[in-house]
């Protein structure tokens, strides 16, 4: 299975004129994009667009999702089982607009004009820049602010938003895919003998929030009772896997940091053995079944020597991750986990993890979900909120725990934010 990404770099983004990418400057005919999206889904009644740039003192609120523009040129369909027919993902040629994202806001999630927030610039009291805290602040965003047709609420609304952002991302890449490439990346797991085999256990969803009918996670399936399954890493990178409605950054799945890192080192100091997709469960028997099956796949099917595990969602999915890792260790497969710490509000080390299997001795920190970040005021707010009194408040300095900021707690390995023991 060989995937070729033809990369076109976007260094600036503008609204207006004909849609084209010239010399790194992407112009978007938002009227044409708007007509296309409204035509495709009657649950949308209108759309407006704004742009935000890296470093700008701009706050984007109520983010529902962030997606990198990509379109298949050959050898498959875009988001099979979701937008396109059910065909295998992971092969062929895909064009990528790198350096930008389509970002969609949820008009139902106003929360006083804030909701989940992304700041594009500004410096924190700790000295950190917006770019230190999330990769999303490095991107040019085409922010899409939809209006929903009357009566479109709840899961139906979330589905409309999800399909709209995927369609917009594909539309953009397919309308600008014919120019010169800045880079070509090739992904192919050619066998490399005599290096330690490393597998990745990818928790794609936590059923703390059970998925609903039509919520597309794995080739369009809602993975409600997913048993562990082996995937080729290319399937993940090429649109077979999406996060649920409550997650806000499918860009991270398209550019999966653990998968890209294991690919980068494949043949250098390790052999990438493959991906096992799992979900975090609500009940102990499901969790136990998933743990034993996932560990067996890692050990006996992928023949891995080592495994990296990540979690998604909130606190409880740490347990699902830890149980799989513990079973892997029992089968002789060495494990490393990426977790957040749940340390006390005063930063004491006690209680920083939700599990205590002594064999899980290699844990990488993605930061603390309870740490309060203080953001400076911004000059501009992009929000679905139209109440101007709330708008002013939305741009003011704000303090909230890290999980209120999109991309800060990067659960799939892309973040540099961490907690260190002093």
């Amino acid at each position: 299975m060989r995937l070729e990404l033809q990369v076109r770099r976007v260094r600036d983004l503008r609204i207006g004129g004909e849609t084209r990418l010239d010399d790194g400057v992407l112009a978007v005919d938002v009227d044409a994009l708007c007509s296309y999206l409204l035509e495709q889904d009657r649950r949308l009644s209108g759309l407006r667009f704004e742009v935000a740039h890296p470093g700008e003192l701009c706050r984007i609120t109520s983010i529902a999702d962030i997606v990198e523009p990509r379109a298949k040129l050959s050898g498959g369909v875009d988001f099979p089982g979701v937008l396109g027919a059910l065909e295998p993902a992971g092969s062929g040629t895909t064009v990528v607009l790198r350096g930008m994202a389509v970002t969609i806001l949820n008009p139902l999630e106003r929360a006083g004009g804030r909701g989940p927030v992304l700041d594009m610039g500004g410096r924190h009291k700790e000295g950190w820049s917006a770019q230190d805290l999330t990769v999303f602040a490095n991107l040019h965003h085409l922010v899409t602010i939809p209006q929903l047709a009357p009566g479109v609420v709840g899961d139906d609304a979330l589905n409309a938003l999800r399909l709209a952002i995927l369609r917009a991302a594909v539309w953009l890449a397919s309308h600008t895919g014919s120019g010169a490439r800045d880079a070509v990346e090739s992904y192919d797991l050619v066998p490399v003998p005599d290096l330690p085999r490393v597998a990745y256990v990818f928790q794609i969803h936590s059923h703390q929030r059970p998925t609903v009918a039509g919520e597309p996670l794995l080739y369009g399936d809602n993975a409600r009772h997913l048993l562990p399954v082996v995937l080729h890493p290319n399937e993940v990178l090429d649109g077979a896997v999406l996060q649920g409605y409550s997650s806000r950054g499918n860009y991270i799945i398209q550019n999966h940091p653990v998968i890209l890192e294991l690919y980068r080192r494949h043949g250098i100091d390790l052999s990438f053995a493959g991906v096992v997709a799992v979900v975090a469960h609500q009940t102990a028997p499901e969790r136990e079944r998933s743990a034993l099956m996932a560990a067996n796949l890692v050990s006996e099917t992928l023949h891995a020597d080592g495994v990296i595990l990540t979690k998604t969602g909130g606190g409880a999915p740490h347990i699902d991750m830890a149980q799989i890792a513990h079973r892997c260790e029992q089968l002789g497969v060495r494990s490393t986990l990426i977790a957040w710490d749940l340390s006390s509000s005063d930063g004491a080390e006690e209680g920083s993890a939700l599990f205590n299997y002594p064999d899980l001795d290699a844990i990488v920190s993605m930061g603390s979900n309870g740490y309060r970040l203080s953001l400076p005021a911004v000059e501009r707010v992009i929000t679905p909120e139209d109440d101007t009194s709330l708008l002013e408040r939305a741009g003011a300095p704000m303090a909230a725990t890290a999980n209120q900021f999109v991309g800060v707690l990067d659960q799939f390995g892309g973040g540099r934010w961490a907690t260190a023991l002093y």
Partner: protein, 351 residues
């Protein structure tokens, strides 16, 4: 002594202070103005603007018998010399010596407001007793690396005395003080995870960034001897609160709990309740709160005489992403309230 000088004091036990061996372990603290023992090595390590102003020597037993009081006594001996920095030890694996160094540093930091550094072998009991409050560098088991250890102590002490930050425990080789500090790492977590895994596979040293917690085991209380006369309370961490959330129980890392009357009530009306808990999909409980708090069945059992009586309030908090110390406090407060109310047992439902 000219301005700008850094005044350094040294603490040694009777052995390193060359007073004597175990037979002299009972000697009280005394000041030496001449460098003794490791003090002579310190002299060779000082920068031009630094001076060793005094050395305090004390017997290990004398200190160990009454550490807090003796620490205060030593501080008063040091005070006239106006030190900027106290170097205590290194104590290596000498337990009483290590404990004395830790106690002295902690007291001197508070009483004199000066920088203090000690150094010990990791199994020295002084480490666990004082590492949270005192910078204790990792030292060998014995005095073989005295000079190198003193050089590291001075290096760290200079920065502490100048108010400059000291690096991470792993890099500076001191014992962690147990504080988790948010940082920006150079490399993303995926890269660090791959590096850590490969080190683990090769049998090379690696450092976990998250420490596993140590939980105190709790013995289960004895079973109820007479359930037919017991008072039972319904307790939940699923965040069920009366409409309007009168106590303002947070939906995330709650710091509060509430007791809500069910006196004379046989079932929970969905219209009267809401959920303050951000960690699960509450729609099924909002449509029927008995899915979380089984008041309806509990009342039936009470009528049948299956147990004595139901406590007339439900106790609730939101059990989501709460630090252990906070959860422990909430649990203790709830238990005290239940105990005071004469409750014999609880049915605890979670989400």
């Amino acid at each position: 002594m000219p301005d700008g000088q850094i005044r350094i004091a040294l603490y040694l036990n009777q052995f390193f202070g060359q007073v004597g061996g175990e037979e002299s372990a009972g000697v009280p603290p005394r000041i030496l103005e001449e460098a003794a023992g490791p003090g002579r090595a310190v002299l060779g390590l000082l920068n031009p603007e630094e001076a060793l102003v005094c050395t305090v020597v004390c017997g290990d037993n004398y200190f160990a018998e009454n550490p807090d009081q003796v620490a205060q006594e030593v501080v008063e001996l040091l005070r006239p010399y106006k030190p900027d920095l106290l170097i205590a030890g290194p104590a290596f694996n000498a337990g009483r010596y290590g404990t004395a160094c830790g106690a002295l540093c902690q007291t001197a930091q508070n009483a004199l407001g000066i920088a203090c550094v000690s150094a010990m072998y990791r199994e020295n009991p002084g480490v666990d007793l004082y590492r949270r409050k005192v910078i204790i560098l990792e030292a060998g088991e014995n005095a073989r690396q005295m000079r190198d250890t003193l050089a590291r102590m001075l290096d760290a002490g200079r920065r502490l005395a100048a108010g400059r930050p000291i690096g991470r425990p792993r890099d500076e080789r001191y014992f962690p003080q147990g504080r988790l500090v948010p940082v920006i790492e150079d490399r993303p977590s995926a890269v660090r995870a791959a590096d850590m895994l490969l080190a683990k596979l090769r049998g090379e040293p690696f450092h976990s960034e998250v420490q596993l917690p140590v939980f105190q085991p709790h013995a289960a209380p004895p079973p109820l001897s007479d359930v037919r006369h017991a008072t039972i309370a319904l307790v939940t961490d699923g965040g069920l609160v009366p409409l309007g959330n009168p106590d303002g129980i947070e939906g995330y890392a709650s710091t509060k709990w509430g007791a809500y009357s069910i006196d004379g009530v046989d079932s929970l009306n969905p219209k009267d309740y809401e959920i303050s808990h951000g960690g699960y999909d509450p729609r099924y409980i909002l449509s029927d709160p008995h899915r979380l708090v089984g008041l309806d069945i509990a009342r039936e059992l009470e009528q049948e005489g299956a147990f004595g009586r139901l406590h007339p309030a439900i106790v609730s908090t939101g059990g989501l992403a709460n630090p252990v110390d906070n959860s422990r406090r909430l649990g203790k407060e709830m238990a005290a309230y239940l105990k005071e109310s004469g409750v014999d047992a609880v049915i605890l439902t979670s989400t």
